[in-house]
Amino acid sequence: MIVLENVGKQYDMGAIKVLALDGVSLEIGAGEMLAVLGPSGSGKSTLMNLLGCLDTPSSGSYRLDGELVSEMNRTQLAAVRNRKIGFVFQNFNLLGYATAQENVELPLIYARTPTVERRRRAIEMLELVGLGDRVKHRPAELSGGQRQRVAMARALANDPDIILADEPTGNLDSKSGEEIVALFENLHKRGKTLIVVTHDKNVAGHCKRVITLLDGRIDTDIRKGDSNRAAR
């Protein structure tokens, strides 16, 4: 369902050009649970932003369910993000002035879900992440782990096929991190495609497939219970 072919991403910093991704080819099937590892600056976030349609590659192509995402305009990308992708960030990225419920409703608003259905869906998602009793709380009134669970609920609101998480447990204590991992497990069982950037061995341990990036290239791509180790 996700097919990257020879994808490159270059940042122009005036005189210096940074090649954040360099010829990445990657296929990810529906329902996979995949971890992305690699040292800081190796291009993990850049890859996630491309996969999440927040950004477009400088070279190469990206197909999502057969659609050529790398050629889309901003409006089309917004629609793909809205329908197919749920993004979870390290720093949560919740709207500070909005309640948990309003935050979860956001993607539903952009999908033009009718108000009543929207409310119901938002509360349902908050219950799913265990925050049924916190719907009217604002982010400032929630713990880090709870905030990340609100972000998870928001990512799930439009029932997307793909959940992308860029170091979701990076700002959390280990207990909160485990709750998030448990949620991921749960989603994986429901057939969602999960891609998680992490430094956390525990998180990676739950994944059937682990990719390692190094200097913008795929260094290793390991599938568990499957010993062929592909170095590129």
Binding site: L54, T75, A78, F87, L94, L95, L106, P107, I109, Y110
Partner: protein, 413 residues
């Protein structure tokens, strides 16, 4: 709905800034309304002043030939008589009514030994209505019976009354002598704002029936005539018909323009109206400048807002807000700011107008420039300008917001 909620959050968060911005718009709007209303007041007052000499009337004076014709030389005086005017009234359908105007520039009026010199005019009853000679309560103008019976009745100007009888006195029914002949006062002209005239101001003249006038004074030709065309748009045709009648009656070249001199007050009113509208528009533009400056203020604040809310924009984009949505959100916010400020401005402007009306000033200046008048049309015009400015101030910052790169925006602190 959702966007309005967000606007409310923004209002709460940035109270002072939003209030100041709105105040700017409010003041700009009050200004434009005040300027337009003062212009409107001026327009109405001055137009009324012109109309006080008569509505839709033409004044005509005798002239002389400028072309030789049928053996007559150039420079022959052409005058009209009351009979000529009667015939014109009967034969020219374009003329609704017509009255001669005989004038004695200085006649003595007497009352119990005290006397005064004044102007006496001999006219028909329809002259009073044409020339807006409205009587004060308890009096009347000359009527058909007065004319027919050659009654010795007199209608006097309010200034004549003030000087001769004393101000506030109602002299109706009193006997006075005009050129030693006794007359009965039948009415006093109601004071009016007159800004144009011929043969002096109406407040200084006295009118008697044309028939009575003719028995007293040996004057064959009226000094001038006043008529009203049936249709104000066909005033020129009516004047042509008048001239043609005189040309054939006195054997003049039908194309000779100078045998009668017309003052078309309809045209004067229109011309003055155009000038006054021009002044009003000019004043509106001056008021509009304040509003435009306020609009620039709103645009600036919107730019700051967009910058400050970059992260929020990034979050919205990340969860699927299309650029159009971001644009409409900021345009809506600008419109709301401008709209609320503008509504307050309208209220302020109207309040200021109400205060001017409440002031007990009654002097020449006020009489002349009039009082500001706020009309629904002005409301429509100023609201349209306001909406336009709101859109303009919103669109550019909003466009900038929609161009934000979501990845950059999410990183923004």
């Amino acid at each position: 709905m959702h966007a309005i909620l967000e606007y409310y959050h923004e209002l709460k968060k940035e109270k002072l800034r939003m209030v100041l911005t709105m105040l700017g718009v409010c003041w700009g709007m009050a200004n434009i309304i005040l300027m337009l209303s003062v212009g409107e007041g001026l327009y109405r007052e001055l137009q009324r002043g012109l109309l006080s000499m008569g509505k839709d009337i033409v004044v005509v004076w005798p002239g002389q030939t400028s072309k030789a014709y049928a053996g007559f030389p150039v420079g022959r005086r052409i005058r009209f008589t009351t009979e000529d005017l009667n015939r014109i009234a009967g034969q020219v359908p374009l003329i609704e009514e017509i009255s001669p105007e005989f004038i004695r520039w200085s006649e003595t009026i007497k009352d119990n030994g005290h006397n005064m010199d004044t102007r006496i005019t001999g006219v028909l009853p329809c002259w009073g209505e044409m020339r807006s000679m409205v009587p004060e309560a308890g009096g009347r103008f000359i009527n058909e019976m007065d004319l027919k019976r050659k009654r010795r009745v007199i209608f006097i100007g309010n200034a004549v009354r003030d000087k001769f009888f004393g101000s506030g006195v109602n002299p109706v029914g009193r006997q006075i002598k005009v050129s030693d002949i006794p007359f009965t006062v039948i009415g006093v002209m109601k004071k009016k704002m007159q800004t144009n005239s011929y043969s002096g101001m109406d407040e200084n003249r006295c009118s008697i029936p044309a028939s009575t006038y003719s028995t007293m004074f040996n004057q064959k030709y009226p000094n001038n005539a006043v008529f009203r065309p049936v249709d104000r748009k066909r005033s020129e045709q009516a004047q042509d018909a008048f001239r043609k009648f005189l040309a054939s009656r006195y054997k003049c070249d039908p194309g000779d323009d100078s045998i009668a001199n017309f003052w078309d007050t309809i045209k004067s009113v229109e011309t003055q109206g155009k000038i006054l509208r021009g002044i009003q528009i000019f004043m509106g533009i001056i008021g509009g400048l304040t509003l435009i400056i306020a609009g620039i203020g709103v645009a600036n604040i919107m730019y700051v807002t967009v910058k400050e809310r970059t992260r929020e924009i990034g979050i919205k984009m990340a969860v699927g807000a299309r650029p159009v949505y971001i644009i409409s959100q900021f345009v809506l916010e600008a419109l709301l700011t401008v709209g609320i400020g503008g509504a307050l401005g309208i209220a302020l402007g109207k309040g200021m107008i109400a205060i001017v009306w409440a002031l007990p000033i009654e002097n020449e200046v006020m009489n002349f420039i009039g009082r500001p008048v706020y009309s629904p049309l002005l409301a429509l015009i100023s609201s349209t300008i306001l909406t336009f400015i709101g859109l303009l101030t919103g669109v550019f910052p909003a466009r900038k917001a929609s161009m934000v790169d979501p990845v950059e925006a999410l990183r923004y602190e």
